[in-house]
Symmetry: D3
Subunit: 138 residues, 6 copies
């Protein structure tokens, strides 16, 4: 299995609901350094897993929807704890959608899996990985 | 699959038996920077993989049993080479036990897998990963 | 010159005023990974620059005053842009005060300089360094 | 499953063919920081995954075949794009061959899998992982 | 003294002349991860060392003049060894020129010093630092 | 000022005397990842700060005198706390001696300064830096 990974980051404010979060129930924020891993069993005709330029651009677009925002006030997140693991899944879903829509090119439709890792500090990170919805029919 | 990872470290002395170890047969030591990864397929009601506070505290407890010690003189390690990979398994087993005993909370009993990575320098690391003994019955 | 460095982090929300900040004028947040460097020309009788335990504990105390907070609502920061470089100076000043007050022990009063670096992402950091106010009289 | 990883690097020149590569169609170069991961389900009699000395030496040998070279002029690469993912597979295959030939010792023949990761910058890496050809008969 | 640092990278081919370089006399290449540090004793009215957006954009421009090229064929480098330390100075000079020309804004003219670090692998880097030519008259 | 840095590591056992060290008074150990920085104001005729091959080899020699040893039993360290900052100075002195003795070549005698940093974990490091004894007469 081949994997290609590109890195970027975004910076948000948010707060959590639930005793388990202790002082993180207050409004605070985070820098998330994001690793997007794209996987497939064989290289395409150019010898790549994916057009890394398109992958980077699309990741930047997805992160710009979240970047420099207070997630407590974003539609779609109301009543949810935007934890690191939750946001890893969110980035995963938004990337998977765009891959299915052809934003990463035609051959990217045969990508078999993605992993999205969000590093929140030098001592903690979370990730979500899964098969791509589109790969079942590939 | 979701993963959450927390990092800590411990510092020990030890020596190895066997020609394969060369000068490492002498009493020496190491800093092990430890990454504990906890995995499960779905988030709990709070939107997390695990109570990261409890995970960190419990990892610190497990490492404190090893930290600042000469492993050659520890019960349970006699006659064994406490290599990086051996110690990764040791930390795995001690964490798995405490998860089964409820130290990370009730919902942590449904964690499906752990991975423990020990970084011994900027050019070498070892890890042990496996399904959690308790997850079979979950 | 000897330097000892300890690392910790804090996570805050804030917003900036001024066109130069672009989208960062919106309420957002950051994780700051903090490196505190302590300097002196000679080691003390124990062979150390400073009691690293006290240095770590005191840094954690200073950071806990900022951690998990919206800096826009903190006294002392009103009307100020809490940029990375500004916060590096803030942590510097709070550490310098505590060193002068003896929180790091008597011999720490002869520390000659501090540097505080705040890493805000994998592609940006800022620092403030200076002689310690107390070292003039040392 | 146990994993042991050793790190090294090599520095090459090359160029790519295909519009997808944009300015990278020009002759340029890269430093590849290489992580070689070796996996097996149980430790050997010495308590290790593999003789880490032999693993490091063999990896250095494999990389020296590529290091300080213009890959456009190397036999075996003509007409191919020596992308990061392609080179990860190349290092994988050369290591797998040597493991099968006994260069890492007899017990290394029971290694179950390898992963080779090539870091090309602070924002991009690629890897190839697979079961070892020799493990089928093990 | 305040410092702000931004990171980027470039990838080039080159070769060296002189026995001291051993196999690096052959055409090969490198990824250079670049840290640009900008220094000044006081913050400006916005609370920053420099407009970090302009600093990043200008660094990207400077690196694009070198990126994806064979330095052996670039004007200005003929007969010179484009070592890591030489290139650190080159990036320093090109940034200093643009700062003097106002590319980083008016207040950037009072920056007192720059440091440019080029990381060539996980085990080697080089840097050049100096006062800014323009700061003498500031 | 130009700086070139090379990285290596060593692994030792030791114990400390003095209440300030708490549990580190027990026999334990550490991995020290070592950064050796070499400085001079101008490049030599080859366009380098120093023969990086000789610098790396000599650093490896110096570290091999300490590597895989119990420092409590080494001549010269009796009655001393071999703290991270103490060992940074030790490596500095041993490198400075060899530079003065010509181990890094003739032009290395005009190196103006060294800095030795020992990283003991992901959250702590210490360094010693100073002018080179030989540079006074240069």
């Amino acid at each position: 299995m081949y994997t290609v990974c590109v890195r970027n980051h975004f910076m948000i404010a948010h707060s959590f609901r639930g005793k388990v979060f202790g002082p993180a129930q207050r409004l605070h924020g985070a820098t998330y350094v994001v690793d997007l891993e794209l996987r497939r069993p064989e290289l395409d005709a150019d010898g790549v897993v994916v057009d890394i330029g398109l992958a980077s651009t699309t990741l930047a677009e997805v992160l710009s929807e979240l970047n420099y925002r207070n997630l407590d006030e974003q539609d779609g997140f109301s009543g949810k704890n935007t934890t690191t693991e939750f946001l890893a899944r969110e980035v995963f879903d938004r990337m998977a959608q765009r891959i299915a829509a052809g934003h990463l090119g035609e051959t990217a439709r045969s990508l078999s899996a993605l992993r999205v890792t969000l590093h929140e500090s030098h001592v903690a990170w979370a990730s979500y990985e899964g098969a791509l919805p589109t790969s079942a029919g590939a």
